[in-house]
Symmetry: C2
Subunit: 417 residues, 2 copies
């Protein structure tokens, strides 16, 4: 490896990482998700002299890998918080909220883009990008307001779990169709079936086969006399959870990519499967530092892909899509939870609004497949950022309207000490 | 980013990481450092059909970056365990052990290679690769034998701390001279001075200026009345330790590389500086998962750089260098600790033998600078692996000779539960 090149890459990594973290910290100070700051840092880098100064115009491939690994590990972590077993516990209301919150935004987005005369595949991607709820923002506001045990909070978290799985199935279908090339109805059914089959197969394997196998092994172990257990333990081939988790995550990501799905679908399912074994192989805490290093590169990359130059032409569409995203999610999820009463439906509807990173990830895949245009990509990024920024304010208002409480700063202090 | 290429890179990362971890685990089972297994995995990949199958012959640049980042973070972690303040606590005996253990192997290696008719710069690199002790292996054996509080253990750990710093200064001088091009005596003095100045400047800054500034800040804080403290705390601009550590580490690595030193020297010094603030910004635990992911790529890369084909020609030299490395370190460190008695000098001499990763890192830098030949690189890798494998056996023998204890398996069990 020649000295200059490695030195340049070191400088690139240093400057990009530092800018992302500064952007993230500034946003956190303002009470906004740090993701917004990281994307903004990427927009700044791409549209200033920094881009040439860092020689990023010469070669971006290292950052493509970093960003891809970052988003794979990010989705694995999201999966880790979505164990299969949770899916069964989710109530009817949460299921209804999730389904309506997926179907209505998808068809609204799809119809709007088709109506504007764009292609069917592009419209599908925009619809899919409007589906996914990023519940992280909502969960944090709820925690800050000490309302984790409210009925609305439980419905929102439950719905978000199903929402994630539905979102992955929608993405699997959309990617499958987009990659299919031909538009024949049999082709579409075939690729959709592959996507759905992959997701269901992993869910079945992870939620039924693996836990049963595990139960059988532990049953057999406990029938061994005490003295022998030590012996068995010593001879046992041990592996630390982190490398195993990385290997499983990369394997399923590669498998998903290989059958024509998005790699992140595999990563997400790997995370869900691993979540079942959290007690035996805890790895969520160990994944955080890796994510802290790699994930900012994904959002930087998203920011760097936003074309500010052409954004002036689509600003009206961006605002329209944003309003549509808010209204359809609010109506879908509000309708789903109406039987809890109007005040609660108001909270649930508002709480599902933030799209955060998931919408952006979907749009990035479309951009990389050259199905989503540069300008529509910018529109989705704008929509995701705007819904994420606006959600905490709406949610605080909705909670106050029902419960009359003020957000407390208790969590901010715990973090600092 | 085009789909195929990302998919291929995913497969490369998956297969290489899995092989490295399997190799590492097998070695750990055999009671050998996992580093040996990771290097062996690299040798296997480079010399089998796997290399073509993974398309590694097409493009290795991603793994160059991974391996460079891995070794930078690794040296940062080594630095984290070597706080500046420890340097002052180290006694006279440890200092003598370190100095003699650096000087004698360096000149022995230098003289041998010069005597074989190779270049002066190459001889310097081989000398420098024979200097550094990897105390990790020794520390683990000592811990397994429950002898952490023995006088020999304290001397070895103390000497290793100085040894690391001396090794970095030697490396700084060697890299400076090798990069200098011209061999004029003034040039050599100049680049050596730059290297030493960089190291001493950072040590001075990290051990005197920073702690004093910190003391002053905390003095001022404690003079603020209790009620105001909360207020100050809230307004304070907080940053989590991990991103700060990454930024400091990459900054100093880039700075070192920019002034013509090895990047890892900067990383090591950054770690030492950060170690002073361990109580305020603990980050060693958070670095472990990042290292668990990235460091194997460095050792894989080392293994992949070993040319098995030409190794037959240099096997005699490899054995000779290995014996020289063992004998000179044993004599140097034994002499340095002779006043503790013969039994203790025996233990200290043997305990400083393993070269581990540090010797390999030095040789890798020489290889990348095209100063060290492919075959001499393989020789150094052989020497580092051999001294590392042989050290635990020698150490167990030396300890038994003096204390008559048997190594216990107590630690092995704690790890498994």
């Amino acid at each position: 490896m020649d000295g200059t090149s490695i030195e340049t890459v070191l400088l690139q990594i240093l400057v990009l990482f530092t800018l992302a973290k500064i952007g993230g910290m500034l946003c956190e100070r303002l009470g906004i998700s740090s993701v917004i700051g990281e994307i903004t840092a990427g927009i700044v880098v791409a549209n200033t002299i920094l881009f040439q100064w860092l020689s990023l115009d010469v070669d971006l491939s290292v950052f493509e890998i970093f960003s891809e690994l970052g988003v794979i590990f990010l989705l694995f972590s999201v999966g880790l918080e979505t164990p299969f077993s949770e899916l069964r516990k989710v109530g009817k209301t949460a299921t209804l909220v999730a389904v309506l919150g997926v179907v209505i935004p998808f068809f609204a987005g799809f119809t709007l883009i088709m109506g504007l005369g764009d292609g069917q595949k592009e419209a599908m991607f925009i619809g899919a990008a409007m589906v996914a709820t990023s519940v992280g923002i909502t969960a944090r506001v709820i925690k800050d307001m000490d309302l984790t045990h409210s009925i609305e909070s439980r419905v929102i978290i439950g719905a978000a779990v199903i929402d994630d799985v539905l979102g992955m199935i929608v993405l699997a279908i959309v990617v499958g169709i987009a990659a299919g090339g031909s538009n024949g109805i049999i082709d579409i059914i075939l690729v959709s079936a592959t996507g759905v089959a992959f997701v269901l197969l992993v869910i079945f394997f992870g939620s039924i086969v693996l836990p049963k196998a595990r139960q059988r092994v532990s049953d057999r172990r406990s029938s061994v006399p005490e003295d022998d257990v030590v012996c068995v333990k010593k001879r046992k081939f041990t592996i630390s959870p982190l490398p195993l988790a990385i290997i499983v995550c990369l394997s399923l990501s590669f498998a998903a990519s290989h059958v024509g799905l998005a790699a992140i679908i595999g990563a997400f399912l790997a995370g869900m499967a691993f979540a079942e074994f959290k007690d035996k192989w805890p790895c969520d805490e160990e994944f955080q530092p890796i994510n802290a290093f790699l994930v900012p590169f994904f959002f930087l990359f998203v920011g760097m892909s936003v074309d500010l130059g052409s954004f002036g032409d689509v600003i009206v569409l961006a605002v329209a899509i944003t309003l549509l995203a808010i209204v359809t999610k609010y109506i879908g999820c509000g309708l789903g939870s109406l039987k809890l009463g109007r005040g609660s439906a108001n909270i649930v509807g508002v709480g599902m609004v933030p799209r955060g990173e998931v919408g952006i990830i979907v749009a990035t895949i479309g951009l990389n497949m050259e199905v989503v245009s540069q300008s529509l990509f910018s529109v989705v990024v704008f929509m995701s950022m705007a819904t994420t920024i606006v959600a905490p304010f709406l949610l605080t208002w909705a909670f106050r309207r029902k419960y009359g409480v003020c957000p407390t700063d208790s969590n901010a202090e715990v973090q600092e000490s």
